[in-house]
């Protein structure tokens, strides 16, 4: 197996005094899509936040391209090529759609993603580029958040609950763009409650339960029963 692009090793993470992760380990290789599933409160978002630098972590607990990045500030993690699409999208309300995309690319990291390419991927955004981001529908906001993260030309894209609060048809529409994104060589970690979408999109799956990895494996090899057991702890 090639050296992973991202290696999470025995990661403990805390929200204040409450421990959210207990010795979590995870690998993501270059160009791979990995899904992290689990019930509410299983620690999925805590895992992404730790990787992105929004939660404290010991340096060696998170290695990116061989470099320890645990506990680095989020802006420094972003500069190394990790982009997070935050839960709830986190678009900037005072900025137009295009300004949101431009600020995503403000580090000017070289790569395939430019404003025209984002508009090719999400034509709905091109038509609404001059509108405030608050004028977008939920699905369009998710596209803008995804586009904004891609503008950073990341090597690793972390997506926190892309499907949250969206109609199934909109979720399918967004997930339909994933192959085009993966085709550019970026690695993706999908945190999802929509297990069906996650299993369809990802090659490998980690299932978290109460802050621990309860199950890990290739998406195609896991049975429904295994996933249900890991997900619900039954």
């Amino acid at each position: 197996m090639p050296e992973p692009l991202l290696a999470v090793r025995r990661l403990d993470a805390f929200y204040g005094d409450i421990q959210a992760l207990f010795g979590v380990g995870m690998d993501v290789t270059a160009g791979e899509a990995v899904a992290v599933i689990g019930a509410n409160g299983a620690g999925k978002s805590a895992l992404l936040k730790s990787i992105a630098g929004l939660l404290q972590a010991p340096p060696a607990a998170i290695l990116f391209a061989g470099e320890p990045i645990g506990g680095m500030p989020a802006y420094a993690v972003a500069a190394r090529g990790i982009a997070l699409v935050p839960e709830g999208r986190g678009l900037f309300a005072s900025l137009t759609v295009e300004e949101n995309l431009l600020i995503g690319g403000q580090l000017k990291r070289p790569g395939p993603w430019t404003l025209p390419r984002i508009y090719d991927l999400f034509p709905a955004l091109a038509e609404r580029r001059r509108l405030p981001s608050t004028a977008l529908s939920g699905g369009q906001q998710q596209m803008a958040a995804l586009g904004r993260a891609l503008m950073a030309n990341p090597r690793l894209l972390l997506c926190d609950e892309l499907s949250l609060g969206l109609a199934p048809i909109v979720v399918r529409d967004i997930y339909a763009r994933l192959p085009a994104i993966l085709g550019e060589g970026v690695s993706v970690v999908l945190v999802e409650q929509d297990i069906v979408q996650a299993l369809r999109a990802a090659q490998r799956v980690y299932c978290l339960q109460e802050g621990r990895v309860a199950l890990a494996g290739a998406a195609k090899d896991l049975t429904r029963e295994q996933i249900a057991a890991a997900y619900f702890g039954v």
Partner: protein
């Protein structure tokens, strides 16, 4: 004609108040920091200009070339070393720290320059006037001051809405945590905002010092004028801030014309009326 003159003088002074206010408004808008030391920093800039003009033998307007970057550097350092540590969910720590800073600046200036009032001499431009109509004359210096105020507000508006730096200011103001995910270091963004604010403070301070006498105790009243202009204009609107400054200036001029003792009072009354009638200010920019 007499009243035209009065209102015109008020408008021209209002430009200065708008400059006091713009920096205050920028800082509150970007990082929700109420800078109680803002007025004292204006007076500090005036003293810096005094030292610069006396040491180098240059005019006050030329001294801007030195005072503006020095104040910007002071702003950057102040934010990085002190004020960033006070920011958080609670508005109180920055309020207390800037209040302390205000006391330190006032007493530091008192120690260095005594309580004697000072004034910057700008030479012939101070007494030069241009006739606008028969019986209406305006001083060249107030006119320059007003033009500079409009230019400063316009420049700030441009920076805020048309440049990557302004985008970073607005994004950080919206959601500082998500802004970090875009690779923006909040501490640096906030320090740049403070540097810009103090660059404007420097311009305001030099014009203040040319226009009238100043002494170390004058900061708090400049702060009040700045606050009033911001609130009259409506939070978050830079052109509103300019309008707020002008309204305050005109109200003071009218008050002064009625009776010299009413100048300051008339400004405060105008502010209170607007606060009572339109608490959101005259031109509020509604934030989502």
């Amino acid at each position: 004609m007499e009243w035209v003159n009065v209102i015109l003088q008020g408008v021209l002074v209002g430009g200065l108040y708008a400059m006091f206010a713009a920096g205050l408004s920028l800082i509150f808008g970007v990082m929700r920091l109420v800078n109680i030391a803002h007025g004292d920093l204006i007076v500090l800039a005036a003293y810096l200009a005094l030292v610069t003009t006396e040491t180098l033998g240059i005019g006050p307007l030329t001294a801007l070339v030195i005072v503006v970057p020095v104040m910007a550097l002071i702003g950057y350092a102040l934010q990085r070393l002190v004020l960033n540590r006070t920011l958080g969910d609670d508005l109180l720590p920055p309020l207390l720290v800037t209040f302390g800073l205000s006391v330190i600046i006032q007493n530091g200036l008192l120690e260095l320059f005594t309580a004697d009032s000072q004034k910057l001499q700008a030479g012939a431009i101070e007494v030069a006037t241009v006739p606008l109509a028969s019986g209406v004359y305006v001083g060249v210096l107030p006119l320059v001051q007003f033009a500079v105020a409009v230019a400063v507000i316009a420049a700030l508006q441009f920076i805020f809405y048309r440049t990557p730096l302004g985008r970073a200011f607005r994004a950080t103001a919206d959601d500082a945590q998500v802004a970090q995910l875009m690779g923006l270091d909040n501490r640096h963004v906030f320090a740049l905002a403070m540097a810009l604010s103090l660059a404007m403070v420097a311009i305001a301070g030099v014009f203040l010092a040319v226009r009238a006498n100043f002494d170390p105790s004058q900061g708090p009243s400049r702060l009040i004028f700045g606050f009033e202009a911001v609130i009259i204009g409506g939070l978050g609107s830079l052109w509103g801030t300019l309008a707020g400054g002008l309204i305050l200036g005109v109200a003071q001029a009218i008050g002064a014309h009625l009776s010299p003792g009413w100048q300051i009072l008339a400004g405060h009354i105008a502010f209170l009326i607007i606060l009572a009638v339109r608490p959101e200010g005259l031109f509020p920019k509604v934030r989502a």
